[in-house]
Symmetry: D2
Subunit: 329 residues, 4 copies
Amino acid sequence: MLRLAIIGAGRIGQVHAKTIASHPAAELVLIADPVAGAASRVAKSIGVRATGTIDEVYSAADVDAVVVCSPTKHHVDQIMAAVAAGKAVLTEKPVDLSVERVDQCLAAIAGNEHRVMVGFNRRFDPGVVELKARIDAGEIGALRQLTIVSRDPAAPPANYLINNGGIFRDMTIHDFDMARFLLGDFVEVAASGHAFIDGIGEIGDIDTATVTLTTASGAVCTILNSRECAAGYDQRIEAFGPKGSLETANLRSTGVQFNGPAGTGVAGPYLPFFLERYAHAYTNELDHFITAIESGQAPKPSVLDGRGALLLADAADEAAKQHTVVTIA
Amino acid sequence: MLRLAIIGAGRIGQVHAKTIASHPAAELVLIADPVAGAASRVAKSIGVRATGTIDEVYSAADVDAVVVCSPTKHHVDQIMAAVAAGKAVLTEKPVDLSVERVDQCLAAIAGNEHRVMVGFNRRFDPGVVELKARIDAGEIGALRQLTIVSRDPAAPPANYLINNGGIFRDMTIHDFDMARFLLGDFVEVAASGHAFIDGIGEIGDIDTATVTLTTASGAVCTILNSRECAAGYDQRIEAFGPKGSLETANLRSTGVQFNGPAGTGVAGPYLPFFLERYAHAYTNELDHFITAIESGQAPKPSVLDGRGALLLADAADEAAKQHTVVTIA
Amino acid sequence: MLRLAIIGAGRIGQVHAKTIASHPAAELVLIADPVAGAASRVAKSIGVRATGTIDEVYSAADVDAVVVCSPTKHHVDQIMAAVAAGKAVLTEKPVDLSVERVDQCLAAIAGNEHRVMVGFNRRFDPGVVELKARIDAGEIGALRQLTIVSRDPAAPPANYLINNGGIFRDMTIHDFDMARFLLGDFVEVAASGHAFIDGIGEIGDIDTATVTLTTASGAVCTILNSRECAAGYDQRIEAFGPKGSLETANLRSTGVQFNGPAGTGVAGPYLPFFLERYAHAYTNELDHFITAIESGQAPKPSVLDGRGALLLADAADEAAKQHTVVTIA
Amino acid sequence: MLRLAIIGAGRIGQVHAKTIASHPAAELVLIADPVAGAASRVAKSIGVRATGTIDEVYSAADVDAVVVCSPTKHHVDQIMAAVAAGKAVLTEKPVDLSVERVDQCLAAIAGNEHRVMVGFNRRFDPGVVELKARIDAGEIGALRQLTIVSRDPAAPPANYLINNGGIFRDMTIHDFDMARFLLGDFVEVAASGHAFIDGIGEIGDIDTATVTLTTASGAVCTILNSRECAAGYDQRIEAFGPKGSLETANLRSTGVQFNGPAGTGVAGPYLPFFLERYAHAYTNELDHFITAIESGQAPKPSVLDGRGALLLADAADEAAKQHTVVTIA
């Protein structure tokens, strides 16, 4: 039984709280949030302790591991503090918006890398797990083209986006991790995008992006992003190799289809957003974290994986802004 | 090069006229229709001879084979006359609405059965051909359940239906032939149906029917019919056996799909009706007829097959009217 | 918070135990099973009381409701005893294999009908719920044809089947409930089937069945059953009306598809069996039971619904054996 | 009735010969090919005149229009000669591998642009026609992302590829035309690719390419190409806009699907290659050409469209080789 504390009682903190509370091998003991009342409100509904003082998490003797769900700018400090206090850490993505800060984090946790995991939840989606396993089994041969479609149902308010580092570091970061998970390292990045949605361009961001990543062996990953999608949360991957292709299709809440004058084979909307689409992924992610920490094996993805995704985000940002192809050392 | 004449210049006659005109191994030489002008109008557009006198078809020295597209009540007389005149015959379905008349026909053409074919066009649909071949190859084992969905897009006017023998002899006859083609002979028939459409009940007919046919070995074929279908011409077959199932899905004119607030995976309408859905089947049917006649081998389906389908129609009619299970000798 | 006891610690009892244990408005307090050790093994894993004496369930002051998961022959006695003891009851299907016994049960619980629910779980499947709601909303008009495909992945051993009343009372009973749920009452039943699987015919049962049910207004429901299906657990419904059709498609564990020489659009197996396919249904069924009991409103389906399904099973059994159409009073 | 001659009796010349021969408003009168016997062999099978002297095409009084199906290097000379002789021209793509040569052609046909059409057949595919019409009707709003997947089933021998200008001018040229057809002009081009197939790298070409094209308004088209595809001829387009998306799915020869242990929903192979996939497109292309020429209206796509596609091919070639983003004036 791994005893966990959560830092950050916001939306994603609540997701983890529920996932932990219903996990047979995990015990949630403490929720911390500096916003008075936020932690206690969530903690009360689950029946665990709450605190407004983050340091209590590090000093609590009954906390084995910490799930970091705070705003991104606090991630690195909290990861370092938790590791220093002997806690294992599962941190939400991204590790930080700055590679330098991530490097500081890596230096600080040296020797304890096997105690820290980054929550790129999609790696644990059953469809992605199956896709990866079948690729690794050689079913379609070595990948030549990988296409990741990742479109959110609706953009958050522009003021939410203003401090999150731009679309590549905030949203595409998940797709960069998928690209690395399925294809490894990349040597070149090109990107093109535009702000179509009111307010996004005003804050210097874009809402629609196309990124191509090339590996040393010539395989290319294309990422298609949009902050809004009228059909819902559009999450698809196509892996193409010499022996065939594998796709992960969108999922719906039921299998009901309509046939009539308005169309045939009319299925319902996609699962609305990440909470529904990746519900199983959060559980599987926690499974992996618990198993890894308890067995002493390094969980994946690591902070180094977080750094790898961030490097791609930086490169894509530069490529899009400079209208150039960026080479990665 | 097989030289053909067509009797009957109506809708189905025109389908055959075009199919023959564009077939490299067939030559259309004559179109006959007692309605003044009907034959000549069609013949002119294709550039062949026309006549209002059916007998000219039998006496024409340059006619090798006759395609019978007249009203059903004339089929048997014209088949017999054509065969007596040494012509091969491809007749539209049904052979007749009366088994006695079909038996007279069979007696009259005795010794020339290999010269007469009945136009159950669906046997020649590429999907049905593939289904049959894969069943015969043992891909799903011996059939246990066969389901045929056959729904027309819209009912014809009730006055068109009044003399056609009822839904089982006019519409389901195609499905009875499919059932026999894929499952062989049946020993029991049950049927249930109703007239939902205005005017159909008034003429003593039904527009929606469900028929079950049981073979001696216990396999069951279910036929689902409707004279109208809001989604279009609904033509599907599912064959279920111990090793798997095979289905023929509905076809559309393009592969375009829409995803948006109104639904996802929204495909277009089914191919509108039999002319579009079975366009290839008419060509393949003609191919088979020509090849069989020129090689002296009996074409299929035969008049005996037409009789077999009619027996099932009679049984279904009785079963539905008497609310009983009808045993076939 | 509804406090529940479970009678019967077998497979389905364990399903309910887990469902109740993770339900926020339910508390599992006791598991009873006359087989020594069976109840305690399950109870221990969840951390609740166990007993080998069924009567303890009725006398326990902290038990508000009983979930009956015992062998079918005990259902009626236990329902009556529980109701007599003032408990609400959720009983597994079928209520009994004999209509007389069901009628005794109904007589015994008279006045308490609103305290007893029958666990036809499929009514609570999200796809079925959506289908029903859209039909009721008039999306496709009044149903004319309803087709229920229900095929198990593999037959249980023949000795398991020997005392369960035959395929219609054991397996089709679910489909009869679906038929009643979506189409109401029926006036005629026809059925045809066969034993294809080794051992099934020997015990006087069949493994493959086709049933047609006709309503007074002429709508027809067709049920296609098989005790084995090479493609997995095949669970589909098609509802056809004058304005269109609605289908519930099979579900898979992921959306991964393969395209290559072996085929295109190759999806994975269906969800393997009822535990996976109807996992959400069990939770929703419990939701409904709790809400109904706590609010004093009669839960559905009722024992009367259980009786209705059983009458159809009896009729189908007679129809198949007598090769006739059975009329229902 | 438009009277046509064909220059070039190779594979694509034969496609046009058959299309013209079966078109009611077209008459094929002459086939010319300098290879002795090639023209006469094709001409004989159709029953038209043949010549080994190309000039006879220009001087023939009974030829209204010429279909240029010769090797690419002869296209411009033959277009100019035919136009100078007063003939209308339908030329196969590409117009030429050099923009300078295309400009010479444009200068030479100045004033007769409405008499020359380039055979980008995909514009006439029913799926593409529907896609374009629905986009133009505003169904999904102004395009933001356009994805074109275009993969051939198998690479031709490397020695066939050696003189065709590389993948972008030979194969992607079709996709560049699609991109221009659906999105208009582009201002930036990026491309990445690799030679995975034996022999392709040796001749300085690549076989797998990913191209991104950006419009002035920020919309991005992504093209995914491969010279080989184990699943067959993979031809799909996805158009994504603020109000939804439209896709053209792959087509199969039948709608047969298999469900069993090897997979569910297993469809057959895609239509094998362009002759089958775009069979209707060739007929519709000829329709458009005849209608335009006979009515005096300029057919589309024009030589200017051919130039536009070639400019994109040149830019992609440079982008891929220089690892840079190429700006288009």
